[in-house]
């Protein structure tokens, strides 16, 4: 019955386990450590780490970004007027870097109409370091805080209002390129507005703020931070709402609907016609030629 009576076989019921002392020691260290982090004078420490971060960012920038953006992020112009290998990054802010590098768009694999989203090349710390470095080149939009784009902590009613408002803002400003479902759309010369499904709120917020690639810039004067938040809430809500109508067929509108009407509808019904015509109504199997 050792399973039930755990003290059976021990010398004393009051005697501690052999690891208890170690556990208490670790707990003590953890508590004191976290208390220190919480209450320690933060200023000097973070300034030092920021300088470190910028230095680390510069290091990364020189190896991964400088070829196109220049050694000091000043951009590399080509011989053709107005064309650049890479634009100047002075003043684009940390938000732009967090968006471009955090979604894997930068560094670009090859020049092209648009940098596609791909596997992220850097880890979170490195992205932060790059962002800090580029932010140090000139004042620009900072990486938004989660409270900027989340509707957590709002009442049910406020949330619903935010979503409804966000839907109208989305339909007015975004659907022309990104489609009514956020499924994306075509832009001139091989460019495209990407699919917004599954994109983190932070990146949508940063994209609105910095206007990457073909996208216009929705500054805070244009779309207030609350309006940006509402758009993100709406996009989240149409992804969370069950598809009442069944398979969305890509959510691309009438073109994919037409494709399915022809392939499944007409294809299936012509198949049915072939089946009916190849069977007589006789119960015997052999075909009567008529």
């Amino acid at each position: 019955m050792r399973v039930l009576n755990r003290t059976a076989g021990r010398l004393s019921r009051h005697r501690r386990g052999p690891l208890a002392g170690l556990a208490v020691l670790l707990l003590g260290l953890l508590i004191s450590g976290s208390l220190y982090t919480a209450f320690a004078p933060a200023q000097a420490q973070s300034q030092a780490s920021e300088t470190d971060q910028i230095a680390q960012g510069k290091e990364l920038f020189l190896t991964s970004c400088a070829f196109c953006h220049g050694k000091n992020g000043e951009g590399v112009p080509t011989v053709r007027d107005g064309y650049q290998i890479g634009p100047s990054l002075v003043g684009v802010g940390a938000a732009a870097v967090d968006f471009q590098v955090g979604t894997g768009r930068m560094p670009m694999a090859q020049p092209g109409a648009q940098a596609p989203r791909k596997k992220v090349a850097f880890d979170d710390d490195e992205v932060a370091a790059l962002a800090a470095y580029v932010a140090s080149l000139g004042p620009g939009p900072a990486i938004p805080d989660e409270s900027d784009y989340s509707i957590e902590g709002m009442s049910e009613e406020e949330r619903e209002e935010a979503i409804t408002r966000g839907g109208q803002i989305f339909l007015t400003n975004c659907t022309a390129c990104h489609n009514f479902n956020g499924a994306g759309g075509a832009m001139p010369r091989g460019g495209y507005a990407p699919n917004l499904h599954g994109v983190q709120g932070k990146y949508i917020y940063e994209a609105l703020l910095t206007g990457p690639q073909n996208m216009p810039n929705f500054s805070n004067g244009n779309l207030s931070p609350e309006e940006k938040r509402d758009v993100i809430a709406y996009l989240g809500s149409i992804q969370d709402t069950p598809e009442y109508a069944g398979f969305t067929l890509g959510g691309l509108g009438p073109v994919s609907e037409g494709l399915f009407a022809w392939i499944l509808g007409i294809g299936g019904l012509v198949g049915a016609a072939v089946w009916i015509a190849s069977h007589t109504t006789r119960s015997k199997k052999d075909k009567v030629n008529a």
Partner: protein
């Protein structure tokens, strides 16, 4: 050939058969017949014979999907409110609650989310509409490719073309009704097309919209056109189309026993009533499945129409896609300013000129063909597409034009899905829309002619057995066997093409014959149409061929199917009597 004894009576009863008491259904039928004279009317029609082929059932898909449209449409009218009066949406769909919209949009949302089965009905109605027009089109292609539109069916062809046009308009008025963002964009486009009409455009637009776009009249007006005017004409024309079908009798494929004077097939009752009835349930089932499982026109995601908004992927339903495609590939700068008035060729050509022109070309096809061939006979036997190479090629060229324009209407979706540049797609289409049909015409015609040659090969030299033999000298040759008489009959059951020649443009005294210019054109067209065709072998050629194949023909004498070719070697199929199964 064995004798078919399945239809010989097997009973040898000795007592006389007596009439039993009539069944309740029988007495009801007599009751009705005594008063309505049904038996006389039905006797002939219930036994009406239809030939059996899958391609003869394509028009039926259209008929049955039209029935589904009527049924689901009636359901929708019970809740739909065709009004542009503004209301605040307070229904079940969270993301739009509290938004101002028209009653039309609000009631479309109400049907979708708050009426039991409403969304299913809406989606079925929409899918049925897509299938209705698509099946009319495949039916049209079958009729054209088999030459079924020749005399006496030219007018039924014209009725069919009008049905296609009306179906398209019915579809357009239908998807414009919910007043969502997509349908509003469509109406906006239609307004632009009207206004592109020189001189009268603005007046026409004001007349349709009851003032400046969008106004408050367009939805109620489209509604009455959609639920009363067009369906009424559609019903009448469908009735006329089918009455003519009954009057002309159905066409059939040529074959032994089938002539221009008879129809070989099964009677309406019980066979075709069961087949057609069963097909109705299949069409209904497919549409119900699509309506239940696949989203179509999710108006709640589009939101209410607002002229300041637009969405990517704003396309019309598929059947309006090809004019949209022509519009998309039209160079946008083509405008002429005359006395301060702009003529918008960039809208005029792709929307107001080419689509009506295409429809007219389509309607005239049987008449033009009839004029060139000068053929005034009735035709009830169909032609295989290969045996009318020019007609087939013309149809394929028209299809190619349609298909390219259609694809251009989805250029943005093609661009994002194939990672291509929308500009390059547009440039490609601008060339392809002219070159594609020509290329398609040429390839199809050569293809048909090759198939005609292959048929002649089969008739004269038999079919390829797949048996390769090596002669004593080491030569390899594939053995051929004659095809069976049924196939040979079917392959030769076609007319020889006669190229029309003008007999002389002046008479004996040197006076020009009347119509000589048009006759010359006709002769030239006739030669263009027929000169490359391969004609079926003559009797002498066939006999010559048979003489050559006498030895091979012997191999299959007594068989009721073509020989399999293994008569030449030792691999012929044996049954178990000859070769016992392995014993173990």
């Amino acid at each position: 050939m064995s004798v078919d004894t399945s239809k010989v009576a097997t009973s040898n009863r000795t007592d006389a058969a007596t009439a039993s008491k009539p069944s309740p259904a029988g007495s009801l039928a007599s009751w009705a017949d005594d008063r309505l004279g049904l038996a006389t009317a039905m006797k002939k029609n219930l036994r009406k014979v239809f030939p059996d082929h899958w391609s003869f059932m394509l028009g039926e898909i259209a008929l049955w999907s039209f029935v589904v449209l009527l049924l689901t449409g009636v359901f929708l009218t019970l809740w739909f409110d065709p009004s542009m009066g503004e209301v605040t949406y307070e229904g079940s769909y969270d993301q739009l609650r509290g938004i101002d919209m028209s009653s039309a949009m609000a009631s479309a949302l109400h049907i979708s989310f708050d009426v039991r089965g409403g969304l299913l009905m809406r989606q079925m109605h929409h899918w049925a509409a897509m299938i209705f027009i698509a099946s009319m089109m495949v039916h049209l292609l079958r009729v054209a490719f088999t030459g079924a539109y020749r005399k006496p069916r030219e007018l039924n062809w014209v009725i069919g073309c009008i049905l296609l046009l009306l179906g398209t308009l019915e579809g357009f008025t239908g998807y414009s009704l919910p007043d969502d963002l997509l349908s509003g964009t469509g109406i906006r486009a239609a307004d632009g097309f009207l206004k592109a009409t020189p001189v009268a455009g603005t007046y026409m637009s004001f007349l349709l919209f009851g003032g400046e776009f969008p106004g408050e009249s367009i939805i109620p007006r489209l509604y009455i056109v959609h639920v009363l005017l067009i369906p009424g004409i559609l019903l009448a024309l469908i009735a006329a189309h089918m009455l003519l079908l009954v009057y002309h009798k159905h066409t059939q494929w040529p074959g032994p026993g089938r002539t221009e004077q008879n129809v070989v097939g099964y009677p309406m009752l019980p066979v075709y009533a069961a087949k057609a009835g069963g097909f109705f349930f299949m069409v209904f089932g497919v549409i119900a499945l699509m309506g239940g499982l696949m989203s179509i026109n999710p108006v709640w995601k589009f939101g209410p129409y607002d002229p300041t908004k637009v969405t990517a992927g704003s396309q019309p339903d598929w059947y309006m896609g090809w004019p949209d495609g022509l519009l998309r590939i039209m160079p946008s700068h083509m405008e002429t300013v005359i006395f301060g008035y702009t003529i918008s060729w960039n809208v005029l050509i792709p929307i107001l000129l080419v689509p009506p022109l295409m429809l007219v070309i389509l309607m005239l096809l049987p008449f033009v063909e009839g004029w060139i061939t000068g053929d005034k006979r009735d035709h009830h036997l169909l032609q295989r597409p290969r045996n009318a190479p020019t007609r087939t090629a013309v149809m394929v060229a028209l299809m190619t034009f349609y298909g390219l324009a259609w694809a251009a209407g989805g250029n943005d979706i093609i661009a994002i899905k194939l990672h291509a540049s929308i500009n390059q797609i547009t440039y490609f289409m601008r060339g392809a829309i002219f070159l594609g049909p020509l290329l398609a015409f040429w390839i199809t015609r050569r293809w048909c002619i090759s198939l005609q040659r292959s048929d002649n090969e089969k008739l004269l030299h038999g079919y390829e057995t797949g048996i390769i033999t090596r002669s004593a000298s080491g030569q390899y040759a594939e053995r051929h066997l004659p095809i069976n008489p049924t196939s040979a009959y079917t392959l030769t059951a076609r007319d020889r093409d006669e190229i029309y020649a003008v007999e002389g443009d002046t008479d004996a005294s040197g006076v020009a014959a009347p119509n000589s210019r048009s006759e010359k054109v006709r002769a030239r067209l006739s030669s263009w149409m027929y000169q490359h065709n391969v004609q079926k072998p003559t009797r002498a050629e066939l006999e010559e061929g048979h003489h050559h194949a006498e030895h091979e023909a012997e191999l299959q004498s007594g068989l009721d199917h073509p020989a399999d070719g293994h008569q030449f070697d030792d691999h012929r199929l044996r049954d178990t009597d000859e070769v016992p199964l392995r014993d173990h």
